[in-house]
């Protein structure tokens, strides 16, 4: 059973997380645990994954309790709640007005009822209740050691937002090229240069614009622009810097926002460099989420990934 409450400004941040994840996929997992409430989404071709984990201290109050009886079936203690973005996104629309009008928002669910109840207690005694049905589905999560990446950048979201303005939304992919001297964000060269419409844009950013700049290997990675926009939407709400972890082409790029109350990770696959590579980015290594338990054997299990999609050029992540 999940029961948590937020005030107006917390609802805004929560809503922004949902909006950011909606850029990745049409479905969202609501995944509560003792660590907090995680929102997860994966896109259909498994090339982008987003997870925003709100710690219990983010909320006004947070309660998560699993069923008392012990089950041999591992999956029972997860909520296994998958919601359609079409159902949940409209509830968190007009975040600025929600922030102003909502005094308290509660989210309540029981796994046996397959329903999430979201209530907004607004000014002037108005109470809005939403009952959203969910599909039972085990959440997926990505196995990716971002701290093992050779290149790490930390940047204020405003700088990245200024860079993104350069690119039109028709741009499918964006390339990040780094050397120890500078960083360049540019239109991807992958698409054939169609004379009629594509403008090639590039922006150079010097190392002193970054809060943290560590480049271990010169690299040019290409990933999906649409998903990057999603990360930016969320970062505007948190005012925390964005950390970017990446390696060589083909290995995923992780964009994270980490502050005391929440931790967001957006992991995007990148195009592999080989001439024989497919035109679409590599798939991420995803695993089914296991029940948390104190047993050591189970903990080991969590590390092993279940590859949901294999391709010839896929690189192992862990």
């Amino acid at each position: 059973m999940l029961k948590c409450g937020m005030n107006g400004s917390q609802v805004k941040v929560f809503g922004k997380a949902i909006q950011a994840l909606s850029r990745i996929s049409d479905e969202l997992w609501l995944d509560p645990s003792e660590k907090g409430l995680a929102l997860r989404s994966v896109n259909s071709c498994r090339s982008a994954y987003g997870c925003v984990l709100f710690s219990p201290v983010f909320f006004q109050h947070y309660q998560w309790s699993t069923s008392v009886e012990m089950n041999n079936n591992d999956t029972m203690s997860n909520l296994n709640c998958k919601l359609g973005m079409k159902s949940i996104l409209p509830i968190f629309r007009c975040l600025n007005s929600l922030e102003r009008n909502v005094e308290k928002c509660t989210i309540f669910t029981k796994s046996d009822k397959c329903k999430v109840v979201i209530q907004f207690f607004c000014r002037h005694g108005v109470k809005r209740t939403h009952n959203v049905c969910f599909q039972e589905s085990q959440p997926l999560q990505v196995v990716f050691e971002k701290n093992m990446c050779t290149n790490t950048l930390m940047i204020q979201p405003r700088v990245l937002a200024e860079a993104i303005v350069l690119f039109t939304s028709s741009q499918e992919e964006v390339t990040l090229a780094v050397t120890p001297l500078n960083v360049c964000i540019k239109s991807s060269n992958e698409e054939s240069m169609d004379l009629t419409n594509s403008v090639y844009s590039e922006m150079f950013v010097g190392p002193d614009e970054f809060d943290f700049f560590q480049i271990g290997v010169d690299s040019e990675i290409t990933f999906c622009f649409k998903e990057l926009k999603g990360v930016l939407i969320f970062s505007e709400a948190t005012h925390a810097p964005i950390s970017i972890h990446f390696d060589i082409p083909g290995k995923p790029i992780a964009l994270s926002i980490d502050d005391m109350l929440l931790e967001a990770n957006f992991i995007l696959a990148t195009l592999a460099d080989e001439p024989s590579s497919e035109s679409s980015p590599q798939s991420l290594c995803l695993s089914q989420k296991r029940k948390r338990s104190n047993s050591k054997a189970d903990k080991k299990d969590q590390g092993r990934g279940v590859h949901l999609k294999k391709s010839n050029t896929q690189k192992a992540l862990s």
Binding site: E162, V165, N197, V199, E202, M203, F204, P207, D208, E209
Partner: protein
């Protein structure tokens, strides 16, 4: 063929950006003509635009601190390029806080107009942004179709009312019919009429004033109350109005009965002429 120019003043840059957004709203693809003294945005492809043509002119020295061009040849010292208007306006929009903007003709993998922007940034290092806009060079033999249109001898010329008002009126009229009648006289009266089976709506503008007529003899002896009218596709007029984002310094409308509606506006130092043909 060479072209390089620089804008170093923020006000000039903003004005140039606004002009380019206006052009982007009026013509999807347009021709840019570069000559030693002027820069023009031209739409003359009558077939593609349904008969509409546009001529926008600006004096380069009002905008550029540096301007160097070398045309196709010494006798034909001009450059005609074709590009997607929105590409240029979008690139210019990214130069909101620029220290300087440079435009030049380049040939990387194919001919481009390269816009490079030096942005002001918080830290000491300035950020450089480059956009390569693909263009097509228009050959000399096609230049004759891209010359400044001759202003026709009009039956009536009249100052336009506030364009915002005209736009809101025309927008609503569009819901009734696409066939708009524009009529005006030398007494400062302008009427916009729309008809359908059920309803007939006319909006009357009075006391607009008429500019002094260039060919005094044409309007000499014309009854000031007599209306000259032209029937046009309302969507074309609406497109023109949608492109006017700010109030022009001067706005004149000339009617050549049953032939063409000529709109002539001046935004500070940039002149724009828009020709809408009469419905046949």
């Amino acid at each position: 063929m060479k072209f390089r120019a620089k804008i170093a003043d923020a006000a000039c840059l903003n004005h140039f950006t606004r002009v380019s957004s206006m052009v982007a709203k009026l013509a999807k693809t347009c021709t840019v003509r570069i000559s030693p003294r002027q820069l023009n945005f031209i739409l003359a492809d009558k077939v593609a635009s349904g008969g509409v043509s546009m001529w926008c002119e600006l004096e380069q020295e009002n905008f550029f601190s540096e301007f160097q061009m070398e045309g196709v040849s010494a006798e034909n010292n001009e450059i005609y390029l074709e590009l997607t208007s929105e590409n240029l306006s979008r690139a210019l929009k990214t130069a909101q806080n620029a220290r300087a903007l440079k435009i030049k003709l380049t040939n990387k993998h194919f001919p481009c107009l390269t816009v490079s922007i030096e942005l002001l940034s918080v830290s000491s290092s300035s950020r450089v942004v480059t956009h390569d806009i693909p263009i097509k060079v228009i050959p000399r033999k096609l230049w004759k179709d891209l010359q400044e249109p001759v202003v026709p001898d009009s039956d009536v010329s009249i100052y336009l009312p506030v364009l915002k008002t005209v736009k809101s009126v025309v927008e609503r009229m569009k819901n009734i019919s696409n066939h708009l009648i524009v009529e005006a006289n030398l007494n400062g009266d302008l009427n916009l009429k729309i008809e359908s089976e059920l309803v007939c709506v006319t909006t009357h503008f009075k006391d607009l004033g008429n500019p002094p007529s260039a060919s005094a003899d044409a309007s000499h002896g014309r009854d000031p109350e007599q209306m000259a009218e032209v029937h046009v596709d309302i969507r074309k007029l609406l497109q023109f109005l949608a492109g006017q984002q700010s109030t022009p310094t001067k706005a004149v409308c000339r009617i050549v009965g049953d032939k063409v509606l000529h709109l002539d506006v001046l935004h500070e130092d940039v002149s724009l002429q828009y020709f809408i043909p009469a419905l046949s």
